[in-house]
């Protein structure tokens, strides 16, 4: 499974880039992206339970199964307005 992961705000800063491409085993869930990236993106540690995930520009639950070519996004706590 090849997917793109978009990064924003503090997570983007912590990763040092605004996007990553991941090669994942079949059946990987959206929530597992965070496990995979924990070492590469230190900011995820402190935010883990407050992060939302989006796939194809819609919020998804952590158990959402990823598909080939998906564009996922890690959404840190939002602060628009």
């Amino acid at each position: 499974l090849k997917i793109r992961v978009l990064l924003f705000a503090s997570v983007r800063q912590s990763a040092g880039g605004d996007e990553m491409t991941l090669e994942l085993p079949e059946g990987t869930t959206a929530g597992e992206i965070l496990e995979r990236l924990r070492e590469k993106i230190p900011a995820l540690e402190g935010l883990s339970d407050r992060i939302k995930l989006a796939v194809g520009e819609e919020f998804v639950a952590p158990d959402h199964r990823l598909e080939e070519g998906d564009v996922a996004a890690i959404i840190p706590p939002m602060s628009g307005g």
Binding site: F8, A9, R50, E57, I75, P76, M78, S79, G80, G81
Partner: protein, 135 residues
């Protein structure tokens, strides 16, 4: 109109855009950059967004307000980039037959926006430090 832009928001134009002969009420909420937060002096703020998704989510906010409160028209614009103290970051205008649903719609609309629209604010303080709001 629903949009995200780098340029200053025109509160008057956004408000006028929701006027309608059948509407006796127009309510506009303007979010403005404040000069302090949690006891620190704010010099500037910078907004960034997951733009394509944020636009979809702003459109969803407008749709919810029409469905839930029966408001006639909704205009919602959010600014991105660097903003100085006093500048408008968001403008939400609604029109309805009577004032009650207009008041409720702007309040609820801003609550939904804050929890569902992927936009982030970074505050730059007078002491040279900065922080992402909400973390």
């Amino acid at each position: 109109m629903i949009r995200i832009r780098q340029e200053p928001l025109d509160v008057g134009a956004i408000t006028r855009s929701v006027e309608e002969p059948g509407c006796g009420a127009v309510a506009t909420f303007v979010g403005v950059v404040r000069d302090h937060n949690a006891g620190r002096r704010v010099k500037m703020v910078r907004y960034e967004a997951y733009e394509s998704m944020a636009l979809k989510k702003l459109e969803e906010v407008a749709r919810i307000l029409v469905e839930r409160f029966g408001v006639h028209r909704v205009a919602l614009e959010h600014r991105l980039g660097n903003l100085r103290v006093g500048e408008a970051s968001v403008v939400l205008a609604v029109s309805s037959a009577h004032r009650e649903e207009a008041f409720r719609a702007v309040r609820e609309g801003m609550d939904i926006l804050k929890s569902t629209v992927p936009i982030w604010k970074r505050e730059f303080f007078a002491d040279g430090e900065d922080a992402w709001v909400g973390e």
